[in-house]
Symmetry: D3
Amino acid sequence: MLLYLSTWSEIEQYLQRSRTIVVPIGSNEQHGPTGLLGTDWMCPEIICRHADQQGDILVAPTFNIGMAQHHLGFAGTISLRPSTFIAAIVDWTRSLARHGFEKILFLNGHGGNIASIEAAFSEIYAEASFAGRRTGFAMKLTNWWDLEGVNELAKEMFPTGHGAHATPSEIAVTQYAYELIKHADYAPRIAPSGPIREALDFRARFPDGRMGSDPNQATPEKGKALVELAAKSLVKELAAFGEEKVPG
Amino acid sequence: MLLYLSTWSEIEQYLQRSRTIVVPIGSNEQHGPTGLLGTDWMCPEIICRHADQQGDILVAPTFNIGMAQHHLGFAGTISLRPSTFIAAIVDWTRSLARHGFEKILFLNGHGGNIASIEAAFSEIYAEASFAGRRTGFAMKLTNWWDLEGVNELAKEMFPTGHGAHATPSEIAVTQYAYELIKHADYAPRIAPSGPIREALDFRARFPDGRMGSDPNQATPEKGKALVELAAKSLVKELAAFGEEKVPG
Amino acid sequence: MLLYLSTWSEIEQYLQRSRTIVVPIGSNEQHGPTGLLGTDWMCPEIICRHADQQGDILVAPTFNIGMAQHHLGFAGTISLRPSTFIAAIVDWTRSLARHGFEKILFLNGHGGNIASIEAAFSEIYAEASFAGRRTGFAMKLTNWWDLEGVNELAKEMFPTGHGAHATPSEIAVTQYAYELIKHADYAPRIAPSGPIREALDFRARFPDGRMGSDPNQATPEKGKALVELAAKSLVKELAAFGEEKVPG
Amino acid sequence: MLLYLSTWSEIEQYLQRSRTIVVPIGSNEQHGPTGLLGTDWMCPEIICRHADQQGDILVAPTFNIGMAQHHLGFAGTISLRPSTFIAAIVDWTRSLARHGFEKILFLNGHGGNIASIEAAFSEIYAEASFAGRRTGFAMKLTNWWDLEGVNELAKEMFPTGHGAHATPSEIAVTQYAYELIKHADYAPRIAPSGPIREALDFRARFPDGRMGSDPNQATPEKGKALVELAAKSLVKELAAFGEEKVPG
Amino acid sequence: MLLYLSTWSEIEQYLQRSRTIVVPIGSNEQHGPTGLLGTDWMCPEIICRHADQQGDILVAPTFNIGMAQHHLGFAGTISLRPSTFIAAIVDWTRSLARHGFEKILFLNGHGGNIASIEAAFSEIYAEASFAGRRTGFAMKLTNWWDLEGVNELAKEMFPTGHGAHATPSEIAVTQYAYELIKHADYAPRIAPSGPIREALDFRARFPDGRMGSDPNQATPEKGKALVELAAKSLVKELAAFGEEKVPG
Amino acid sequence: MLLYLSTWSEIEQYLQRSRTIVVPIGSNEQHGPTGLLGTDWMCPEIICRHADQQGDILVAPTFNIGMAQHHLGFAGTISLRPSTFIAAIVDWTRSLARHGFEKILFLNGHGGNIASIEAAFSEIYAEASFAGRRTGFAMKLTNWWDLEGVNELAKEMFPTGHGAHATPSEIAVTQYAYELIKHADYAPRIAPSGPIREALDFRARFPDGRMGSDPNQATPEKGKALVELAAKSLVKELAAFGEEKVPG
């Protein structure tokens, strides 16, 4: 069930049978010479929509702008500061908790979001902790590549040149979903690695935007396999999260 | 051109020929018994995508969660506080300005966003004003119903019962784009009007979520006509905004 | 009754018979070659004091610095950022609500404040909406020129050259109240119009500070008529607001 | 010269001959059974206006709402949080500095403001200090009772029962300026003293709002003497501050 | 009892017999040619540890970075902005109050902290005051030199050249505790005095970092006497604060 | 070299030969029945002081209060909200960068800090990235247990029952440094594992405060070995970080 294509009373009915929701979350940022700027928010969105056809889950709108300050040296990147990001997650979560959602899973598509998402969770929990009360809900962060079996499949498909940014697996996912394949001659074939700092430093280290990856290995077929596996694992993870009991 | 389906170098090329971008912005909130929760962010997104097929424009990802605190009494609504909203617009704008965009048009789909968008613009301009420098870019807010000719067409289509929330025109737009038509018996046919305050007050005044509207008048055909006109006007408005000279 | 010339026990007694208060709110900013810097906060203050002599109302101190970033290119302008403005309105309102005021009307004298005032209202309501509780009070924004009959009178007095900033009507009001009339040769007689952006842009577009107005039409007599009408309408509006029932 | 009764070009001319401005700053808060709620912002305003008739000084609008959280248990008190207060002072100061003011003196009328004013100064200086640059202006806090000779005169007039809040000297000043004298039977004659904490604690310790004072000793004549001395000292202090050289 | 060398259950037991805690608070900033950068946080820490050997008190970890923006022109200084400082005190206090501490005394070692500490107290109290509830705890600020008898002893030891920064008394305290004595030829012997503004202004006025002081008068023996007196007075002050009743 | 036991001119001299500094950072929080509340900030402090005796490094004061909201259900825990934590790291870093430090390594002792530290780094880098400039410095986060060889040694020492909180390795470190050994009968011997949420949830899941650990395995001797290895590795890591070239 896609929340944005539902009416409020349909959500009210869903809440009678489940208190679990999944929020696709990512980033809009450069993905090398051939990767789409929307890759990181489209991947979890694609997986959620696929999962939606396989189980009775509820998918929130996509949190599509993330923490991508290091990519701002490449045109088209849009980034929130961590402080803005945290404030936004607080508001999304308070809104969902207001309606009675008790298990809120953020399916993440961008490594650079992880710290800010976890900091946001702590910001939310802290209010309850200072006040000495229960929140009544739990949040969980899952990167789509950490869904059961997905990392293993990606390693099998791309034993070398998977890398950390503009990876062949994420590019394969968007190729499959959008039927949009772009080409470039990569030099070097596998991009360099290194630390992540401010945008100008990043562009100097990673001139075409890739980090450690060889995106040329991506194909729509591989993307299809990844999406199907990830969607199946997501349905299971949501079910397990929904059933999890909280201690008294 | 859809930014999120482009690569960073394609955006770099676009910037060679234009410095203008449009950001669809809306809200995810209840829209009465039959309106979709995503109506307010989907309408500007639909219009932008339609316009994209008619002119060389650039469409940013959709800012999909707005200022909807008054709708929080209805399941599925997600709202930012105005302070969070402003911080997010600041970050989006700084990101786009960083790449050289000089004309940033927010195509808005939610009346409740207007104050926060304008406050955000002022927050951004204020930094330059305190410092005594030019920003180098201009922002503009346009509600999609204020695009040339659109209000007139809506009035012609819906002489009574257009109202202010869950209007037949916005519902017609989503019916056309998503081929998704939901039904309900409305009582009263035209919803009441009144002030907007906190969520519980809102729900007491507007029990099914509508404000002054009769959404039953919506049809996909009317939606098609609205989208086509709005898209055409948007292309013209973007061209005019892009050509506007700033005084020295 | 002027709050600042009262004791706390007099306010306590007032609260026995009424829960309504009016807050004059404006801005301290340039008003063209002859307009006073205090025009925008003095106009609502003048009208409130006049109204105070005609009915049992309670007037708060004047919120005298507003959102005037665009005027910072002219000496004497003082501006809050929208974020500061919102924080201040939150504190004023929480203070008044703490004492039991249930109807808080902001009588506004500056168009540039509107977005920030409305955003502040939403910021306040949002806390209640997230928490699922009633606020127990209502806020209302009324521009003094929107008080019953005032716009009509101004149009009658100034059929052309009223404009949007440094208008003859606001200057007439201060001429009447302060008996202070300043002169200048205006060229052009009616100032230009255009968009509002950062301060340097504003000064380039509107070199003497006026927007679309011809302030030479102002006279103390016209100011007197405007004040008397506005004050009378304010007393009525406060009474109506005070009597308004909130739905259960 | 009163800034708010001036035009922007008059301020521009003033800046040719002086870079100094005084900002009356106070609080709107209960002042015991007979003191006016506006006492703390009216006192510095009264003194500034009096001083304005004696020297070529420039008086800003009055910062009339201060840090008065402890008085919120008494009707009519309006308070900013320190964080809001600091943000507002930052904005006032940036605005004034933008126009070229180099010496900004805050004439304060409320002891409870002192910490927040000084913290605000540090917040402003800190930006320059982190960046390793000069601010180009200096701020100064002077309580009106610390103006040369004023404390001495007050001690002479009120050897006992001056106290710390709702003092006979501040009440005398407003009696003189507003010709408004209110009476009450005080029991005890001199109010108790003690620490300042949250509002309910304050009201329990100081049931009628006074702290250590016997306001019955106030007379308009004493107020006149205090105002005249304070105004004279203010003119001198502004001159000295204006002439102060900053080290290279 | 040192909190950080205790277990949580030992603190739980302490709370059975006392609800009072002392927090050493200072700053890390230049202290002239011979003073240690840690002087201002080490002094209250030293005194607290000494007092801990004389009475059943509880010492929190040291708040070691304060408001020292004016010292940033000298290497090694670390400063918080007042706004950050206030947020941190709010969190420390909410944490301690959460455990049941009812009397929280901040033993301060840096004059530049005073405004920010008091503003933080008001920020905390304000939340309760707006909400109309008691906090359940009290905060108190005591500078170590204001502990009973300490100022008198320092004046006796250093009748001239005590000054305001890098004073012989604080340097004596660290000499005693750390057995670390550094030497310099001071010119002039007693440093100049003046206002405190941004860092570059400060360094221009006070070229070697001292303000009004002659640190050469410090000796470990004098430090010992100061610490012993201060510790004794601290134990008494904590006892008195702990016994203080709050009004109902 | 310990910064707080140095003078500003000694730091200035250090900066002639090195631009690298290490900041011990941790948390003050419960560590089970026998672990000290200060464990997480004392461990990196202990290691830094030990390393200081082996190489020419510079150690900043300890950032001793971290993000520990989940431990607030246990007496003595003090926590910052992530937003406060981030603001503080921003200020520390701006201060150090102001003096010319180019490599700032945070040696962390608390897993719960990681997200907030990384978010803080991004907040700092983002300012430069939005502005399109280099920062001129780099930050690095290293957990002390991730220093070269340390995890391996800990696994060897504690093949089972190391766990995630109140681990035998961190307790061994404080036993060694403070010669303070506390005992308890643990039931169960190895504490349970589970997710981290708000404080009341945490206490319900982990009744004595431990997570997955058996602290009884700690001994001062093991602590000594861990400190010595960690200190040696820290010196090497600081040297490597200091020598790292940034791309042009």
